[in-house]
Symmetry: C2
Subunit: 213 residues, 2 copies
Amino acid sequence: MAIPRAAKTQRRTRIQEEKEELILEAALDVFSVNGFRGSTIDEIAEAAGMSKPNLLYYFRTKEAIHRHLIDRVLTTWLEPLRAFDAEGSPESEIRSYIRRKLEMARDFPRESRLFANEVLQGAPHIEDELKGPLKQLVDEKAEVIRGWARSGKIAKCDPYHLIFSIWSTTQHYADFDVQVRAVLGQDMSGEGRFDDAARFLEQIFMDGLKIRS
Amino acid sequence: MAIPRAAKTQRRTRIQEEKEELILEAALDVFSVNGFRGSTIDEIAEAAGMSKPNLLYYFRTKEAIHRHLIDRVLTTWLEPLRAFDAEGSPESEIRSYIRRKLEMARDFPRESRLFANEVLQGAPHIEDELKGPLKQLVDEKAEVIRGWARSGKIAKCDPYHLIFSIWSTTQHYADFDVQVRAVLGQDMSGEGRFDDAARFLEQIFMDGLKIRS
DNA sequence: CGATAATTTGACCGGTTGGTAAAACCTTAC
DNA sequence: GTAAGGTTTTACCAACCGGTCAAATTATCG
């Protein structure tokens, strides 16, 4: 008798590990483009190179796959913000935060789009995480920024909207990639636009925050 | 014999005008949340308070409704950028561009999300518009900005990425509304956050571009 | 009014959806 | 080898999908 999804043995077999990873990879492709409702299990199964019932042997429902992906993204996604260090200098911290977020937009655009799709559609699966852990983390870092402003290290500004603006400008290059490419033309379809973006964003934020380098 | 969709009379009847508007309104609600593939005709029909065949009497296909909405949004959406005037001062032009885009995010969040969903999902229905009219318009305005930079009115910067950053920061308040609200907490769930955002963005862009006010 | 055209409805269609059942097929450990 | 458990497949289901059709209903206008 087959009791799936490692219910019995606790320890997952080699095949389980491989196939689950395969499925998640395929699901990331599909979900990040079509969103949860717009994606089908058949599509994911085909992308993963297996039959639908076989896929459903590893993940009981479509939601389970999505949930798994979202959870994974949520943790890695906030890593750069977590690394934001109160002890560091405003210049290096903000500059490297921008750079890291931009690198993630370049290297993990699917993850960015998965998240964007979810939030755009009202965040039905992650509202609690947004109001809980995310808000808490942002509150904490906002306080750091506010401290820098109070001590005159950076210009006075609303720390929350500063964080929002860094999020939006950097993620834009992943989420609106098609538009960015269309506007820049095919000459800039290489990865050069990320370097240009980094230069621009660092300049505008540094000067905008009156940080002398 | 009923030849629908104003094929015969050219002049649309009162009922046609009303119902079509009703459908588009309902469809905007649905499409802007779920994207094209994630939305169903049944859902739109119910939201519009009519039966599915009745809805399909006014719009032959699901795509026709979506197409209609996208077309409408595309024209009104770029209005602020079109208004960008080469003769005006950099300060007033950029400042009012930011303000107008932010007002649109506040007043027409569904339109913003419809567009975001479309682009996020690879812009399958509007790729031509992006590469054609949109690129052309941006190219034109980028040249204006480049001129300002050359003549020393604003700091030297990449005009394309400047436009991208204004788009992303302002639309963020519509597209990621749920996240913004979650992070700011319910105290800021009123419309005050838009004023704060306007203050922040005008500050950062003005100082970032070294524009003396 | 009556007639003509515009609108609305219910029944329906083939294909797809998320998901299940059970049997067949492999792997692994003894 | 063989038996137990892990994996895959085939066949299937009810609900839903986008869309059609013809008949019924309603609005318009002379």
